[in-house]
């Protein structure tokens, strides 16, 4: 009775050929060039050597975004968010260790090729074509949190405490920009440790500062190429990984998953072809007479 192992395996593997075909092209996809940001891409430049940790930007961000004071950190008394959360789109942290001491500002990096946007099913997260700002529209969000899985910087946060939760993350104060203002965090910074502008100009400025004081700064701009580049850039006197900025290669974060999806579902040909082949096999089987009696 029955089936030969070989025949069965062949069919199973044929059925999975769709998935298997994804294996080959992804290997070569790593040679892809960096994605190009929009010409007028906006962003931030944070200079860790200038920040004095006054957290004025943290409070200004809460005010501008209607976020509550966050007393979850120290003794439950002080407004001192310790990390990004549904109540904090922008935080200042202090690194103290072998490499010295430094403050660190965390907010959405506004990636040139954002993984969160790639993850989002019906575009609650989108990247603006002109400014490159990654913004959130709750109308198209189902709260699946796949953006949180996708983000290499662990930025999007979810309102766990609410029955009608949203995703919370920095949108570069896009409402303020529309009014002709700059983001709240850069506006209030007394030391101009964080400045706002076009990404291309910020990148130039960052490189100018590094060139002017090569002994002070780490020799590169974080965000120039990381994960395909980000619109928020960092320069620092301590290594970036000590500041909690992950060591990432130049490949855009969504590339691996996207190349599989694109290869397998290019023009939707493979699924349609598979459907046709399967139907044809069944029709032939049926005519062949050995077909099963019981068809649903």
């Amino acid at each position: 009775m029955g089936i030969t192992r070989r025949a069965a395996l062949r069919t199973m593997l044929a059925g999975s050929a769709v998935a298997a075909s994804a294996v080959i092209p992804t290997e070569s996809a790593s040679a892809a060039t960096l994605p190009t940001p929009p010409a007028d891409a906006l962003g931030l430049l944070y200079d860790a050597t200038l920040c004095i940790g006054c957290k004025t930007c943290v409070v200004a961000c809460q005010d501008a975004n209607g976020l509550p004071r966050d007393t979850s950190g120290i003794d439950y008394k002080y407004d001192a968010p310790v990390a990004l959360s549904a109540r904090a789109k922008n935080v200042i942290k202090l690194y103290k260790g072998e490499e010295g001491e430094s403050f660190m500002k965390a907010q959405c990096m506004h990636c040139v090729d954002p993984a969160c946007v790639s993850a989002c099913m019906i575009g609650a997260l989108t990247k603006n074509r002109e400014t490159g700002i990654v913004s959130y529209n709750v109308d198209y969000c189902v709260g699946c949190r796949y953006c949180e899985i996708a983000c290499p910087f662990n930025v999007p946060k979810f309102e766990w405490a609410k029955a009608t939760p949203r995703i919370v993350k920095c949108e570069l104060c896009r409402e303020r920009l529309a009014e002709g203002k700059e983001p709240a965090c850069t506006e209030v910074c007394p030391r101009h440790a964080v400045i706002f502008g076009k990404r291309a100009e910020l990148l130039q400025e960052a490189k100018r500062r590094i060139a002017a004081a090569p002994d002070t700064y780490q020799a590169r701009v974080y965000g120039e190429t990381e994960a395909g580049g980000t619109q928020c850039l960092y320069i620092s006197h301590v290594p970036f990984d000590t500041l909690g900025l992950p060591s990432l290669d130049d490949r855009p974060a969504p590339e691996l998953a996207r190349s599989i999806q694109h290869t397998v579902y290019k023009g939707f040909i493979a699924p349609v072809a598979l459907y046709g082949v399967l139907a044809a096999v069944m029709l032939r089987n049926r005519r062949g007479g050995q077909a099963p009696e019981d068809r649903p």
Binding site: R5, Y140, P165, A257, I260, L274, L278
Partner: protein
């Protein structure tokens, strides 16, 4: 062994003591579901911004749908490989699949924060993000639930062919032949959709990129998910046959399951060989022996994949039902562990994050599985799903 199917309702009392226990578990889950809907996910689950996917995704959806691939696995065998002699397995396998996928759908609805907006995903086609593996999975699973119930519908409607109720009789007599006529096109859809979304479930976590541990971060994940959903699907069919044997005093299809096992055992080998080859080609074979949690988990996976293959090597062991069931359970566990590993163990959001499912999360999952078992028992008792001898009610044998 006949190619003809004489499926008939098993009959018997629904409210057995074990059914009462299952109802109690389901009741507890419903209370907790109400709490989750009122108080939110933070109050009821252990999920957090580091681990935004928890048990409900890793088990109810990712593992649950794989265990519900019995219908997929058996349909490949019966309709594509044209092995009609296995057709008695089709009905129970499709029913389990329909129930399992429906349950996964309910699991998703509980898991997403803004469940009342879920309807927008299939409707707002002009906003579909075709880069999103999750979108494809969502659409495929929604479509597949519909396809599965269409496949199951004739078994349910058959019962009403000679019903006293005129409407039911009419629906039954017109729908059943129509569905049989269209069956090739429906079954083909029922094969394409799982092929798509089961592989894409593997693609899903690849978007986490550097935050997914290198032992699992490979473009092969979609293939592994597809291969393991087939073996898990077969394992459930074995388990189900044995369960029906015990629960309804029926004769299990041991010979049939034994010849299935002969096919599935080598598939387990294939997964292990591909897995090891993939690790070697990516140059990370060495980190298998780091001795840490993640490397030990991979070793455990490999052992669990190999064990059932070894258990089913000889024909005599394959023809022993107890042995078949034990190996099937290991097979299910192997596939489940691989999926849990990809979704929870391999994912590393940073040292200060941790996740272990909360008691409400666990009880909701248990309650949903209890509901699935109850629905299965109810349907096989009342509708022609299982075939072969059933001493409980032999006089109703002619029903189909």
């Amino acid at each position: 062994m006949s190619a003809h199917v004489h499926a008939a309702p098993v009959g018997g009392r629904m409210m057995t003591p074990s059914a009462r226990a299952l109802f109690a578990l389901f009741g507890v889950a419903m209370v907790l579901v109400a709490w989750r809907l009122i108080a939110g996910l933070g109050a009821t689950t252990a999920m957090n911004d580091g681990y935004p996917f928890g048990l409900w995704i890793a088990f109810d959806v990712v593992t649950g749908t794989a265990l519900a691939c019995g219908g997929y696995a058996v349909a490949i065998l019966v309709y594509i490989l044209n092995r009609g002699q296995y057709s008695p397995l089709v009905r129970p396998a499709l029913l389990t699949s329909a129930l399992g996928y429906s349950l996964a759908g309910i699991g998703v609805a509980l898991d997403v924060g803004r469940w009342w907006d879920l309807w927008r995903v299939p409707i707002y086609f002009w906003r579909w993000n075709l880069n999103s593996a999750l979108l494809e999975i969502a659409l495929c699973i929604m479509a597949y639930v519909v396809v599965l119930w269409i496949e199951v519908a004739p078994f349910i409607l058959e019962k009403y062919r000679d019903s006293d109720n005129l409407t039911l009789r009419r629906v039954s007599r017109s729908a059943v032949p129509a569905l049989k006529k269209a069956s090739v096109w429906i079954i083909a859809l029922g094969l394409v959709l799982p092929t798509m979304h089961q592989s894409s479930l593997g693609t899903l976590m690849l978007l986490a990129n550097s935050r997914l541990h290198e032992l699992w971060r490979t473009p092969m994940v979609p293939l592994f998910f597809l291969l393991t959903c087939v073996s898990m699907g077969y394992a459930v069919v074995v388990f189900e046959s044995a369960f029906s044997g015990v629960a309804f005093g029926r004769k299990p299809e041991t010979a049939m399951l034994a010849s299935l096992a002969a096919v599935i055992a080598p598939l387990q080998f294939v997964v292990v060989v591909l897995r090891v080859a993939d690790l070697a080609m990516r140059g990370v074979l060495g980190s298998l022996f780091n001795g840490d949690l993640r490397s030990n988990m991979v070793l455990l996976e490999l052992v669990l994949f190999l064990a059932p293959a070894a258990m089913l090597m000889s024909a005599s062991s394959r023809n022993n039902l107890g042995h078949l069931v034990r190996s099937a359970m290991v097979m299910m566990f192997a596939g489940a562990l691989y999926r849990f590993d990809v979704f929870l163990v391999a994912f590393n959001p940073g040292a200060h994050w941790s996740y272990f499912p909360s008691v409400p999360e666990l009880l909701v999952t248990v309650g949903l599985v209890a509901a699935e078992v109850l629905a299965y028992v109810f349907i096989v008792r009342n509708f022609p799903i299982l075939s072969g001898g059933h001493p409980a009610a032999p006089e109703r044998q002619a029903a189909s």
